[in-house]
Symmetry: C2
Subunit: 324 residues, 2 copies
Protein backbone atom coordinates (compact mmCIF):
# COMPACT_ATOMS: atom_id res chain seq x y z
CA UNK A 1 0.00 0.00 0.00
CA UNK A 2 2.15 2.78 1.30
CA UNK A 3 5.48 1.95 -0.24
CA UNK A 4 5.02 1.46 -3.96
CA UNK A 5 4.52 -2.22 -3.51
CA UNK A 6 2.00 -4.30 -1.70
CA UNK A 7 -0.99 -4.25 0.67
CA UNK A 8 -2.08 -6.44 3.50
CA UNK A 9 0.57 -8.81 2.35
CA UNK A 10 2.36 -6.88 4.97
CA UNK A 11 0.57 -8.96 7.55
CA UNK A 12 2.03 -12.13 6.16
CA UNK A 13 5.46 -10.64 6.16
CA UNK A 14 5.31 -9.12 9.60
CA UNK A 15 3.88 -12.20 11.21
CA UNK A 16 6.09 -14.79 9.61
CA UNK A 17 3.16 -16.45 7.95
CA UNK A 18 3.29 -18.98 5.14
CA UNK A 19 2.20 -18.18 1.65
CA UNK A 20 4.60 -15.45 0.74
CA UNK A 21 7.71 -15.47 -1.39
CA UNK A 22 10.97 -14.79 0.33
CA UNK A 23 11.46 -11.92 -2.08
CA UNK A 24 8.33 -9.97 -1.33
CA UNK A 25 8.73 -10.67 2.32
CA UNK A 26 12.25 -9.28 2.42
CA UNK A 27 11.08 -6.29 0.46
CA UNK A 28 8.14 -5.58 2.71
CA UNK A 29 10.30 -5.93 5.78
CA UNK A 30 12.84 -3.53 4.42
CA UNK A 31 10.27 -0.93 3.52
CA UNK A 32 8.55 -1.36 6.86
CA UNK A 33 11.82 -0.62 8.55
CA UNK A 34 12.45 2.45 6.46
CA UNK A 35 9.02 3.72 7.29
CA UNK A 36 9.64 2.95 10.96
CA UNK A 37 6.42 1.09 10.88
CA UNK A 38 5.28 -0.53 14.12
CA UNK A 39 2.05 -2.52 14.17
CA UNK A 40 -0.48 -1.19 16.64
CA UNK A 41 -1.21 -3.40 19.60
CA UNK A 42 -4.79 -2.19 19.53
CA UNK A 43 -5.54 -3.15 16.00
CA UNK A 44 -4.03 -6.51 16.58
CA UNK A 45 -5.69 -7.03 19.92
CA UNK A 46 -9.03 -6.17 18.47
CA UNK A 47 -8.71 -8.53 15.56
CA UNK A 48 -7.22 -11.52 17.31
CA UNK A 49 -9.17 -12.12 20.42
CA UNK A 50 -6.37 -13.65 22.39
CA UNK A 51 -4.06 -11.59 24.47
CA UNK A 52 -1.56 -11.99 27.14
CA UNK A 53 -1.30 -9.31 29.76
CA UNK A 54 -1.55 -9.92 33.46
CA UNK A 55 -1.59 -7.41 36.26
CA UNK A 56 0.54 -8.17 39.28
CA UNK A 57 -0.30 -6.50 42.57
CA UNK A 58 2.24 -6.35 45.35
CA UNK A 59 2.26 -4.20 48.40
CA UNK A 60 5.74 -2.79 48.03
CA UNK A 61 8.49 -3.59 45.56
CA UNK A 62 11.02 -2.15 47.93
CA UNK A 63 10.32 -5.10 50.17
CA UNK A 64 12.64 -7.83 48.93
CA UNK A 65 9.94 -10.41 49.47
CA UNK A 66 7.68 -8.82 46.89
CA UNK A 67 10.54 -7.92 44.63
CA UNK A 68 11.40 -11.56 44.48
CA UNK A 69 7.80 -12.50 43.81
CA UNK A 70 7.64 -9.96 41.01
CA UNK A 71 10.92 -11.08 39.55
CA UNK A 72 9.97 -14.74 39.51
CA UNK A 73 6.47 -14.09 38.28
CA UNK A 74 7.63 -11.91 35.43
CA UNK A 75 10.11 -14.60 34.47
CA UNK A 76 7.55 -17.42 34.44
CA UNK A 77 5.02 -15.33 32.59
CA UNK A 78 7.59 -14.16 30.08
CA UNK A 79 8.54 -17.72 29.21
CA UNK A 80 5.22 -18.22 27.48
CA UNK A 81 4.84 -14.75 26.05
CA UNK A 82 2.83 -13.08 28.75
CA UNK A 83 3.56 -9.57 29.72
CA UNK A 84 3.22 -8.21 33.24
CA UNK A 85 1.86 -4.92 34.51
CA UNK A 86 3.11 -4.23 38.01
CA UNK A 87 1.40 -2.09 40.61
CA UNK A 88 2.02 -1.42 44.25
CA UNK A 89 -0.76 -0.92 46.73
CA UNK A 90 1.19 0.16 49.77
CA UNK A 91 -1.15 -1.35 52.37
CA UNK A 92 -3.84 1.10 51.34
CA UNK A 93 -7.25 -0.29 50.48
CA UNK A 94 -8.43 2.81 48.69
CA UNK A 95 -5.41 2.82 46.49
CA UNK A 96 -5.84 -0.87 45.88
CA UNK A 97 -9.35 -0.30 44.64
CA UNK A 98 -8.19 2.31 42.21
CA UNK A 99 -5.46 0.03 40.96
CA UNK A 100 -7.82 -2.87 40.51
CA UNK A 101 -10.45 -0.96 38.65
CA UNK A 102 -7.81 0.44 36.37
CA UNK A 103 -6.48 -3.07 35.85
CA UNK A 104 -9.97 -4.17 34.95
CA UNK A 105 -9.64 -2.49 31.58
CA UNK A 106 -5.98 -3.15 31.03
CA UNK A 107 -5.29 -6.78 31.67
CA UNK A 108 -6.69 -10.22 31.08
CA UNK A 109 -6.11 -11.44 34.60
CA UNK A 110 -4.90 -10.24 37.96
CA UNK A 111 -2.68 -11.97 40.46
CA UNK A 112 -0.98 -10.99 43.64
CA UNK A 113 -1.26 -9.93 47.17
CA UNK A 114 -4.65 -8.29 47.68
CA UNK A 115 -6.13 -6.68 50.74
CA UNK A 116 -9.78 -6.54 49.78
CA UNK A 117 -12.10 -9.52 49.90
CA UNK A 118 -13.77 -11.45 47.14
CA UNK A 119 -17.07 -9.62 47.36
CA UNK A 120 -15.51 -6.23 46.76
CA UNK A 121 -13.40 -7.80 44.07
CA UNK A 122 -16.45 -8.98 42.17
CA UNK A 123 -17.67 -5.43 42.23
CA UNK A 124 -14.46 -3.96 40.92
CA UNK A 125 -13.36 -6.41 38.30
CA UNK A 126 -16.44 -8.45 37.48
CA UNK A 127 -15.48 -11.85 36.19
CA UNK A 128 -11.92 -11.00 35.34
CA UNK A 129 -9.87 -13.92 36.65
CA UNK A 130 -8.04 -13.12 39.86
CA UNK A 131 -5.69 -15.38 41.75
CA UNK A 132 -4.54 -14.35 45.17
CA UNK A 133 -1.33 -15.07 46.94
CA UNK A 134 -2.53 -15.12 50.52
CA UNK A 135 -2.61 -16.64 53.92
CA UNK A 136 -4.41 -19.93 53.91
CA UNK A 137 -6.86 -18.75 56.53
CA UNK A 138 -8.31 -16.21 54.15
CA UNK A 139 -11.60 -17.40 52.76
CA UNK A 140 -13.34 -16.60 49.50
CA UNK A 141 -14.59 -18.31 46.39
CA UNK A 142 -11.80 -17.26 44.08
CA UNK A 143 -8.75 -19.40 43.47
CA UNK A 144 -5.67 -18.66 45.53
CA UNK A 145 -2.23 -19.90 46.36
CA UNK A 146 -2.45 -20.38 50.09
CA UNK A 147 0.43 -19.92 52.44
CA UNK A 148 0.33 -22.35 55.32
CA UNK A 149 2.54 -21.15 58.15
CA UNK A 150 1.89 -24.10 60.36
CA UNK A 151 4.54 -26.60 59.29
CA UNK A 152 7.27 -23.97 59.27
CA UNK A 153 6.24 -22.36 62.51
CA UNK A 154 5.97 -25.73 64.11
CA UNK A 155 9.51 -26.62 63.09
CA UNK A 156 10.69 -23.25 64.31
CA UNK A 157 9.10 -23.65 67.73
CA UNK A 158 10.54 -27.13 68.08
CA UNK A 159 13.93 -25.79 67.21
CA UNK A 160 13.67 -22.94 69.70
CA UNK A 161 12.39 -25.09 72.53
CA UNK A 162 14.99 -27.77 71.92
CA UNK A 163 17.46 -24.97 72.33
CA UNK A 164 15.94 -24.32 75.75
CA UNK A 165 13.99 -21.17 74.87
CA UNK A 166 10.83 -20.79 76.92
CA UNK A 167 9.92 -17.12 76.78
CA UNK A 168 9.30 -16.29 73.19
CA UNK A 169 8.27 -12.84 72.04
CA UNK A 170 6.74 -12.31 68.65
CA UNK A 171 6.85 -8.87 67.10
CA UNK A 172 3.80 -8.78 64.87
CA UNK A 173 2.62 -6.37 62.23
CA UNK A 174 -1.13 -6.61 62.71
CA UNK A 175 -3.72 -6.15 60.00
CA UNK A 176 -6.61 -3.76 60.39
CA UNK A 177 -8.64 -6.64 61.66
CA UNK A 178 -6.23 -7.81 64.34
CA UNK A 179 -3.20 -10.08 64.62
CA UNK A 180 -1.62 -11.26 61.39
CA UNK A 181 -2.12 -14.88 60.34
CA UNK A 182 1.52 -15.40 61.16
CA UNK A 183 0.89 -14.31 64.71
CA UNK A 184 -2.26 -16.41 64.95
CA UNK A 185 -0.39 -19.53 64.02
CA UNK A 186 2.39 -18.63 66.40
CA UNK A 187 -0.07 -18.14 69.23
CA UNK A 188 -1.93 -21.34 68.56
CA UNK A 189 1.13 -23.53 68.21
CA UNK A 190 2.97 -22.12 71.17
CA UNK A 191 -0.12 -22.44 73.34
CA UNK A 192 -0.36 -26.07 72.30
CA UNK A 193 3.17 -26.49 73.54
CA UNK A 194 2.48 -24.75 76.82
CA UNK A 195 4.95 -21.98 76.11
CA UNK A 196 4.92 -18.61 77.80
CA UNK A 197 4.77 -16.49 74.71
CA UNK A 198 3.86 -12.89 74.12
CA UNK A 199 2.81 -11.07 71.00
CA UNK A 200 3.49 -7.36 70.69
CA UNK A 201 2.08 -5.33 67.85
CA UNK A 202 4.29 -2.99 65.94
CA UNK A 203 2.36 0.02 64.72
CA UNK A 204 2.18 0.28 60.97
CA UNK A 205 3.88 3.65 60.83
CA UNK A 206 7.21 2.22 61.95
CA UNK A 207 7.29 -0.30 59.24
CA UNK A 208 10.04 0.65 56.94
CA UNK A 209 12.27 2.26 59.54
CA UNK A 210 14.83 0.09 61.23
CA UNK A 211 15.48 2.67 63.90
CA UNK A 212 11.83 2.73 64.87
CA UNK A 213 11.72 -1.04 65.01
CA UNK A 214 14.78 -1.05 67.25
CA UNK A 215 13.22 1.42 69.66
CA UNK A 216 10.00 -0.56 69.73
CA UNK A 217 11.84 -3.78 70.49
CA UNK A 218 13.87 -2.10 73.23
CA UNK A 219 10.68 -1.03 74.89
CA UNK A 220 9.03 -4.43 74.52
CA UNK A 221 12.03 -6.03 76.16
CA UNK A 222 11.74 -3.77 79.14
CA UNK A 223 8.22 -5.02 79.66
CA UNK A 224 9.27 -8.61 79.02
CA UNK A 225 12.80 -8.93 80.38
CA UNK A 226 12.57 -12.71 80.59
CA UNK A 227 12.43 -13.03 76.79
CA UNK A 228 14.92 -15.54 75.47
CA UNK A 229 13.82 -15.66 71.85
CA UNK A 230 12.25 -13.17 69.46
CA UNK A 231 10.30 -14.11 66.36
CA UNK A 232 9.91 -11.30 63.86
CA UNK A 233 6.85 -10.86 61.68
CA UNK A 234 9.32 -10.93 58.84
CA UNK A 235 13.06 -10.81 58.27
CA UNK A 236 13.26 -7.05 58.34
CA UNK A 237 11.58 -6.85 61.72
CA UNK A 238 13.82 -9.64 62.96
CA UNK A 239 16.89 -7.79 61.75
CA UNK A 240 15.70 -4.72 63.62
CA UNK A 241 15.37 -6.81 66.76
CA UNK A 242 18.77 -8.31 66.17
CA UNK A 243 20.38 -4.91 65.83
CA UNK A 244 18.68 -3.74 68.99
CA UNK A 245 19.88 -6.73 70.98
CA UNK A 246 23.41 -6.44 69.70
CA UNK A 247 23.60 -2.74 70.34
CA UNK A 248 22.18 -3.22 73.83
CA UNK A 249 24.88 -5.74 74.53
CA UNK A 250 22.56 -8.73 74.75
CA UNK A 251 24.34 -11.82 73.47
CA UNK A 252 22.68 -13.37 70.41
CA UNK A 253 21.99 -16.24 70.35
CA UNK A 254 23.27 -17.14 73.83
CA UNK A 255 21.06 -14.86 75.85
CA UNK A 256 18.33 -14.36 73.27
CA UNK A 257 17.68 -16.01 69.92
CA UNK A 258 16.17 -14.24 66.91
CA UNK A 259 14.17 -15.78 64.10
CA UNK A 260 12.84 -14.19 60.94
CA UNK A 261 10.25 -15.20 58.39
CA UNK A 262 10.60 -15.04 54.58
CA UNK A 263 14.17 -16.08 53.89
CA UNK A 264 15.41 -12.83 52.42
CA UNK A 265 19.01 -12.42 51.37
CA UNK A 266 19.58 -9.85 54.08
CA UNK A 267 19.44 -12.60 56.67
CA UNK A 268 22.74 -13.95 55.41
CA UNK A 269 24.39 -10.59 55.58
CA UNK A 270 23.76 -9.47 59.11
CA UNK A 271 25.89 -10.46 62.07
CA UNK A 272 25.05 -12.82 63.57
CA UNK A 273 23.35 -14.26 60.53
CA UNK A 274 19.61 -14.67 60.83
CA UNK A 275 17.74 -17.95 61.12
CA UNK A 276 14.51 -17.80 59.18
CA UNK A 277 11.56 -19.60 57.68
CA UNK A 278 11.90 -19.56 53.96
CA UNK A 279 10.05 -20.90 51.00
CA UNK A 280 10.54 -21.43 47.34
CA UNK A 281 9.37 -18.21 45.77
CA UNK A 282 10.10 -19.45 42.28
CA UNK A 283 7.73 -22.31 42.78
CA UNK A 284 5.14 -20.08 44.38
CA UNK A 285 5.30 -17.73 41.40
CA UNK A 286 4.94 -20.64 39.03
CA UNK A 287 1.93 -21.92 40.89
CA UNK A 288 0.38 -18.48 40.82
CA UNK A 289 0.84 -18.27 37.10
CA UNK A 290 -0.55 -21.70 36.49
CA UNK A 291 -3.55 -21.07 38.66
CA UNK A 292 -4.10 -17.95 36.62
CA UNK A 293 -4.07 -19.87 33.35
CA UNK A 294 -6.50 -22.35 34.84
CA UNK A 295 -8.80 -19.58 35.99
CA UNK A 296 -8.65 -18.08 32.53
CA UNK A 297 -9.78 -21.23 30.80
CA UNK A 298 -12.47 -21.99 33.33
CA UNK A 299 -13.58 -18.78 34.99
CA UNK A 300 -16.34 -20.35 37.05
CA UNK A 301 -15.35 -23.76 38.31
CA UNK A 302 -18.25 -25.59 39.89
CA UNK A 303 -18.58 -24.58 43.50
CA UNK A 304 -15.86 -21.96 43.60
CA UNK A 305 -12.33 -23.06 44.27
CA UNK A 306 -10.60 -21.77 47.38
CA UNK A 307 -6.92 -22.65 47.57
CA UNK A 308 -5.60 -24.38 44.50
CA UNK A 309 -2.19 -24.97 46.01
CA UNK A 310 -0.47 -24.56 49.30
CA UNK A 311 3.03 -23.42 50.04
CA UNK A 312 4.87 -24.05 53.27
CA UNK A 313 8.13 -22.93 54.80
CA UNK A 314 11.42 -24.57 55.55
CA UNK A 315 13.42 -23.68 58.62
CA UNK A 316 16.90 -22.40 57.83
CA UNK A 317 19.05 -22.34 60.91
CA UNK A 318 21.84 -19.81 60.96
CA UNK A 319 23.70 -18.19 63.82
CA UNK A 320 20.93 -16.19 65.44
CA UNK A 321 19.22 -19.25 66.91
CA UNK A 322 22.19 -21.56 67.31
CA UNK A 323 22.24 -23.61 70.47
CA UNK A 324 25.17 -23.16 72.77
Amino acid sequence: MKAGVSRQTVVRAMNDMPGISADTKAHVLRVARELRYRPSRFGRGLAKQDTLTVGLVVSDLTNAYFAELASEFIAVAGEVGWTVLVQEIERDKQHEKRVLSSFATQVDAIVGYLLIDDAELDDLVGDLPVVRFADLARGGHRPMIGIDYEPGMSAALDHLTHGGRRHILMVDVPTEAGPSPRAEVFRRLSAARGLATTIVELPDEHLPRTGAVMAFVAQALETHPETDAIVGFNDMIAVGALKQLVSAGVAVPERCAVLGIDGLLVGELVTPSLSTLEFDMRMAARMLFEAMLAALSDPHPAGGTGPVAIVTHTLTVRESTATA
Copy 2:
Protein backbone atom coordinates in the same frame (compact mmCIF):
# COMPACT_ATOMS: atom_id res chain seq x y z
CA MET B 1 -28.49 -2.35 22.87
CA LYS B 2 -27.97 -5.53 24.82
CA ALA B 3 -30.12 -4.95 27.86
CA GLY B 4 -33.55 -3.85 26.71
CA VAL B 5 -32.50 -0.23 26.97
CA SER B 6 -29.96 1.90 25.24
CA ARG B 7 -27.06 1.91 22.77
CA GLN B 8 -23.80 3.74 22.59
CA THR B 9 -25.21 5.92 25.26
CA VAL B 10 -23.29 3.39 27.21
CA VAL B 11 -20.17 5.26 26.29
CA ARG B 12 -21.40 8.39 27.95
CA ALA B 13 -22.35 6.48 31.04
CA MET B 14 -19.18 4.49 31.31
CA ASN B 15 -16.92 7.44 30.71
CA ASP B 16 -18.60 9.94 32.96
CA MET B 17 -19.35 12.18 30.03
CA PRO B 18 -21.76 15.11 30.02
CA GLY B 19 -25.03 15.01 28.17
CA ILE B 20 -26.78 12.19 29.90
CA SER B 21 -29.50 12.12 32.51
CA ALA B 22 -28.64 10.78 35.89
CA ASP B 23 -31.44 8.29 35.45
CA THR B 24 -30.27 6.66 32.26
CA LYS B 25 -26.73 6.72 33.47
CA ALA B 26 -27.59 4.89 36.67
CA HIS B 27 -29.61 2.41 34.70
CA VAL B 28 -26.89 1.74 32.18
CA LEU B 29 -24.34 1.33 34.90
CA ARG B 30 -26.51 -1.14 36.73
CA VAL B 31 -27.15 -3.23 33.66
CA ALA B 32 -23.49 -3.12 32.72
CA ARG B 33 -22.64 -4.48 36.12
CA GLU B 34 -25.19 -7.26 35.83
CA LEU B 35 -23.82 -8.21 32.48
CA ARG B 36 -20.30 -8.07 33.92
CA TYR B 37 -19.45 -5.86 31.04
CA ARG B 38 -15.88 -4.59 30.82
CA PRO B 39 -14.92 -2.27 27.98
CA SER B 40 -12.14 -3.62 25.80
CA ARG B 41 -8.84 -1.81 26.01
CA PHE B 42 -8.29 -2.55 22.35
CA GLY B 43 -11.44 -0.99 21.09
CA ARG B 44 -10.81 2.03 23.19
CA GLY B 45 -7.15 2.26 22.28
CA LEU B 46 -7.97 2.04 18.63
CA ALA B 47 -10.59 4.75 18.76
CA LYS B 48 -8.83 7.23 21.00
CA GLN B 49 -5.36 7.61 19.75
CA ASP B 50 -3.84 8.50 23.07
CA THR B 51 -2.52 5.89 25.41
CA LEU B 52 -0.40 5.57 28.40
CA THR B 53 1.75 2.52 28.75
CA VAL B 54 5.47 2.60 29.32
CA GLY B 55 7.90 -0.30 29.43
CA LEU B 56 10.47 -0.25 32.19
CA VAL B 57 13.62 -2.27 31.74
CA VAL B 58 15.78 -3.15 34.73
CA SER B 59 18.48 -5.73 35.00
CA ASP B 60 17.22 -7.48 38.09
CA LEU B 61 14.34 -6.65 40.41
CA THR B 62 15.95 -8.72 43.10
CA ASN B 63 18.62 -6.09 43.28
CA ALA B 64 17.26 -3.51 45.70
CA TYR B 65 18.66 -0.73 43.57
CA PHE B 66 16.44 -1.64 40.66
CA ALA B 67 13.53 -2.55 42.86
CA GLU B 68 13.65 0.96 44.21
CA LEU B 69 13.87 2.43 40.74
CA ALA B 70 10.87 0.37 39.66
CA SER B 71 8.91 1.29 42.74
CA GLU B 72 9.51 4.99 42.35
CA PHE B 73 8.98 4.97 38.64
CA ILE B 74 5.69 3.12 38.88
CA ALA B 75 4.58 5.59 41.51
CA VAL B 76 5.42 8.67 39.45
CA ALA B 77 3.90 7.22 36.32
CA GLY B 78 0.78 6.13 38.16
CA GLU B 79 0.18 9.64 39.46
CA VAL B 80 -0.74 10.79 35.98
CA GLY B 81 -2.46 7.64 34.83
CA TRP B 82 0.38 5.85 33.13
CA THR B 83 0.72 2.17 33.49
CA VAL B 84 4.06 0.36 33.64
CA LEU B 85 5.17 -2.90 32.07
CA VAL B 86 8.23 -4.23 33.85
CA GLN B 87 10.83 -6.52 32.36
CA GLU B 88 14.17 -7.80 33.56
CA ILE B 89 17.10 -8.32 31.26
CA GLU B 90 19.53 -10.04 33.59
CA ARG B 91 22.71 -8.67 32.03
CA ASP B 92 21.98 -10.60 28.85
CA LYS B 93 22.03 -8.69 25.60
CA GLN B 94 20.17 -11.33 23.63
CA HIS B 95 17.39 -11.37 26.13
CA GLU B 96 17.34 -7.61 26.16
CA LYS B 97 16.80 -7.56 22.43
CA ARG B 98 13.89 -9.90 22.70
CA VAL B 99 12.37 -7.81 25.45
CA LEU B 100 12.78 -4.62 23.52
CA SER B 101 11.29 -5.89 20.32
CA SER B 102 8.36 -7.24 22.23
CA PHE B 103 7.99 -3.90 23.97
CA ALA B 104 7.99 -2.26 20.57
CA THR B 105 4.44 -3.44 20.00
CA GLN B 106 3.20 -3.16 23.54
CA VAL B 107 4.13 0.22 24.87
CA ASP B 108 4.27 3.86 23.91
CA ALA B 109 7.72 4.47 25.33
CA ILE B 110 10.58 2.65 26.97
CA VAL B 111 12.74 3.70 29.86
CA GLY B 112 15.36 2.05 31.96
CA TYR B 113 18.71 0.55 32.22
CA LEU B 114 19.73 -0.72 28.79
CA LEU B 115 22.81 -2.58 27.68
CA ILE B 116 22.63 -2.11 23.93
CA ASP B 117 23.59 1.07 22.18
CA ASP B 118 21.49 3.58 20.33
CA ALA B 119 22.20 2.16 16.88
CA GLU B 120 20.86 -1.27 17.77
CA LEU B 121 18.00 0.41 19.54
CA ASP B 122 16.95 2.21 16.40
CA ASP B 123 16.82 -1.14 14.70
CA LEU B 124 14.71 -2.79 17.33
CA VAL B 125 12.22 -0.14 18.26
CA GLY B 126 12.31 2.38 15.44
CA ASP B 127 11.29 5.77 16.62
CA LEU B 128 9.60 4.64 19.78
CA PRO B 129 10.78 7.06 22.46
CA VAL B 130 13.42 5.58 24.72
CA VAL B 131 15.04 7.23 27.72
CA ARG B 132 17.99 5.58 29.33
CA PHE B 133 19.15 5.63 32.87
CA ALA B 134 22.86 5.29 32.41
CA ASP B 135 26.37 6.31 33.21
CA LEU B 136 27.12 9.76 31.98
CA ALA B 137 30.03 8.52 29.91
CA ARG B 138 27.72 6.56 27.68
CA GLY B 139 27.20 8.32 24.38
CA GLY B 140 24.30 8.25 21.96
CA HIS B 141 21.76 10.55 20.41
CA ARG B 142 18.80 9.50 22.50
CA PRO B 143 17.85 11.31 25.67
CA MET B 144 19.09 9.90 28.95
CA ILE B 145 19.34 10.56 32.63
CA GLY B 146 23.05 10.53 33.19
CA ILE B 147 24.69 9.36 36.36
CA ASP B 148 27.80 11.34 37.18
CA TYR B 149 29.95 9.47 39.66
CA GLU B 150 32.57 12.13 39.91
CA PRO B 151 31.26 14.39 42.68
CA GLY B 152 30.37 11.46 44.90
CA MET B 153 33.55 9.56 44.27
CA SER B 154 35.56 12.68 44.83
CA ALA B 155 33.94 13.23 48.21
CA ALA B 156 34.50 9.60 49.07
CA LEU B 157 38.18 9.70 48.24
CA ASP B 158 38.63 12.89 50.24
CA HIS B 159 36.93 11.26 53.16
CA LEU B 160 39.06 8.14 52.94
CA THR B 161 42.34 9.99 52.57
CA HIS B 162 41.52 12.37 55.38
CA GLY B 163 41.05 9.25 57.42
CA GLY B 164 44.62 8.31 56.50
CA ARG B 165 43.81 5.61 53.94
CA ARG B 166 46.42 5.32 51.20
CA HIS B 167 46.04 1.87 49.71
CA ILE B 168 42.58 1.66 48.33
CA LEU B 169 41.28 -1.41 46.59
CA MET B 170 38.23 -1.25 44.39
CA VAL B 171 36.30 -4.43 43.66
CA ASP B 172 34.76 -3.79 40.26
CA VAL B 173 32.16 -5.63 38.24
CA PRO B 174 33.43 -4.98 34.73
CA THR B 175 31.27 -4.71 31.66
CA GLU B 176 31.97 -6.75 28.54
CA ALA B 177 33.97 -3.85 27.27
CA GLY B 178 36.21 -3.40 30.28
CA PRO B 179 36.11 -1.59 33.62
CA SER B 180 32.80 -0.16 34.73
CA PRO B 181 32.30 3.59 34.60
CA ARG B 182 32.40 3.54 38.38
CA ALA B 183 35.86 2.03 38.27
CA GLU B 184 36.98 4.46 35.57
CA VAL B 185 36.06 7.42 37.70
CA PHE B 186 37.68 5.83 40.70
CA ARG B 187 40.90 5.25 38.77
CA ARG B 188 41.00 8.72 37.33
CA LEU B 189 40.28 10.54 40.57
CA SER B 190 42.61 8.49 42.69
CA ALA B 191 45.41 8.89 40.16
CA ALA B 192 44.87 12.64 40.30
CA ARG B 193 45.40 12.42 44.03
CA GLY B 194 48.53 10.32 43.71
CA LEU B 195 47.00 7.38 45.55
CA ALA B 196 48.27 3.84 45.30
CA THR B 197 45.04 2.22 44.23
CA THR B 198 44.23 -1.11 42.69
CA ILE B 199 41.19 -2.32 40.81
CA VAL B 200 40.31 -5.98 40.83
CA GLU B 201 37.60 -7.39 38.62
CA LEU B 202 35.01 -9.68 40.05
CA PRO B 203 33.87 -12.22 37.48
CA ASP B 204 30.24 -11.92 36.58
CA GLU B 205 29.34 -15.41 37.68
CA HIS B 206 29.92 -14.60 41.34
CA LEU B 207 27.55 -11.73 41.30
CA PRO B 208 24.61 -12.71 43.37
CA ARG B 209 26.49 -14.96 45.77
CA THR B 210 27.87 -13.38 48.90
CA GLY B 211 30.03 -16.40 49.66
CA ALA B 212 31.73 -16.13 46.30
CA VAL B 213 32.33 -12.43 46.79
CA MET B 214 33.87 -13.13 50.17
CA ALA B 215 36.24 -15.71 48.75
CA PHE B 216 37.22 -13.38 45.95
CA VAL B 217 37.94 -10.56 48.37
CA ALA B 218 40.00 -12.87 50.58
CA GLN B 219 42.15 -13.75 47.63
CA ALA B 220 42.52 -10.14 46.49
CA LEU B 221 43.69 -9.18 49.97
CA GLU B 222 46.39 -11.81 49.90
CA THR B 223 47.76 -10.20 46.78
CA HIS B 224 47.35 -6.71 48.23
CA PRO B 225 47.97 -7.05 51.95
CA GLU B 226 48.68 -3.34 52.34
CA THR B 227 45.06 -2.47 51.54
CA ASP B 228 43.53 -0.12 54.10
CA ALA B 229 40.26 0.65 52.36
CA ILE B 230 37.98 -1.23 50.01
CA VAL B 231 35.49 0.38 47.67
CA GLY B 232 32.81 -1.95 46.37
CA PHE B 233 31.26 -1.67 42.93
CA ASN B 234 27.98 -1.51 44.81
CA ASP B 235 26.65 -2.03 48.31
CA MET B 236 26.22 -5.76 47.93
CA ILE B 237 29.84 -6.23 46.92
CA ALA B 238 30.90 -3.96 49.76
CA VAL B 239 28.87 -5.99 52.22
CA GLY B 240 30.58 -9.13 50.94
CA ALA B 241 33.95 -7.49 51.53
CA LEU B 242 32.84 -6.36 54.96
CA LYS B 243 31.76 -9.85 55.92
CA GLN B 244 35.05 -11.26 54.72
CA LEU B 245 37.10 -8.77 56.70
CA VAL B 246 35.09 -9.32 59.85
CA SER B 247 35.23 -13.06 59.57
CA ALA B 248 38.99 -12.92 58.93
CA GLY B 249 39.40 -10.88 62.08
CA VAL B 250 40.45 -7.69 60.32
CA ALA B 251 39.20 -4.70 62.27
CA VAL B 252 36.75 -2.53 60.34
CA PRO B 253 37.18 0.38 60.09
CA GLU B 254 40.39 0.60 62.14
CA ARG B 255 42.56 -1.64 60.00
CA CYS B 256 40.56 -1.40 56.79
CA ALA B 257 37.62 0.77 55.78
CA VAL B 258 34.81 -0.31 53.48
CA LEU B 259 32.68 1.87 51.24
CA GLY B 260 29.71 0.92 49.12
CA ILE B 261 27.87 2.61 46.28
CA ASP B 262 24.09 2.97 45.87
CA GLY B 263 22.80 3.64 49.35
CA LEU B 264 20.72 0.51 49.79
CA LEU B 265 18.92 -0.18 53.01
CA VAL B 266 21.11 -3.18 53.69
CA GLY B 267 24.00 -0.86 54.46
CA GLU B 268 22.25 0.24 57.63
CA LEU B 269 21.66 -3.29 58.75
CA VAL B 270 25.09 -4.82 58.63
CA THR B 271 27.65 -4.55 61.42
CA PRO B 272 29.56 -2.35 61.26
CA SER B 273 27.13 -0.28 59.24
CA LEU B 274 28.25 0.57 55.74
CA SER B 275 29.29 3.97 54.48
CA THR B 276 28.07 4.51 50.97
CA LEU B 277 27.44 6.87 48.08
CA GLU B 278 23.75 7.33 47.69
CA PHE B 279 21.41 9.31 45.57
CA ASP B 280 17.84 10.31 45.41
CA MET B 281 16.14 7.55 43.50
CA ARG B 282 12.76 9.20 43.74
CA MET B 283 14.09 12.22 41.96
CA ALA B 284 15.90 10.10 39.41
CA ALA B 285 12.69 8.23 38.64
CA ARG B 286 10.82 11.47 38.29
CA MET B 287 13.41 12.84 35.91
CA LEU B 288 13.24 9.65 33.88
CA PHE B 289 9.51 9.95 33.59
CA GLU B 290 9.62 13.57 32.64
CA ALA B 291 12.29 13.01 30.05
CA MET B 292 10.04 10.31 28.66
CA LEU B 293 7.09 12.68 28.36
CA ALA B 294 9.34 15.18 26.66
CA ALA B 295 10.60 12.57 24.21
CA LEU B 296 7.03 11.60 23.48
CA SER B 297 5.98 15.08 22.54
CA ASP B 298 9.09 15.79 20.53
CA PRO B 299 10.55 12.52 19.26
CA HIS B 300 13.30 14.11 17.23
CA PRO B 301 14.73 17.16 18.94
CA ALA B 302 17.07 19.08 16.70
CA GLY B 303 20.54 17.65 16.97
CA GLY B 304 19.77 14.71 19.22
CA THR B 305 19.80 15.23 22.91
CA GLY B 306 22.30 13.30 24.98
CA PRO B 307 21.83 13.66 28.73
CA VAL B 308 18.77 15.65 29.69
CA ALA B 309 19.60 15.58 33.37
CA ILE B 310 22.38 14.48 35.60
CA VAL B 311 22.23 12.81 38.96
CA THR B 312 25.06 12.71 41.46
CA HIS B 313 25.75 10.98 44.74
CA THR B 314 25.98 12.08 48.32
CA LEU B 315 28.44 10.51 50.70
CA THR B 316 26.80 8.93 53.73
CA VAL B 317 29.35 8.14 56.39
CA ARG B 318 28.52 5.29 58.71
CA GLU B 319 30.72 3.05 60.81
CA SER B 320 32.62 1.21 58.12
CA THR B 321 34.78 4.20 57.21
CA ALA B 322 34.81 6.02 60.52
CA THR B 323 38.10 7.58 61.47
CA ALA B 324 39.72 6.38 64.62
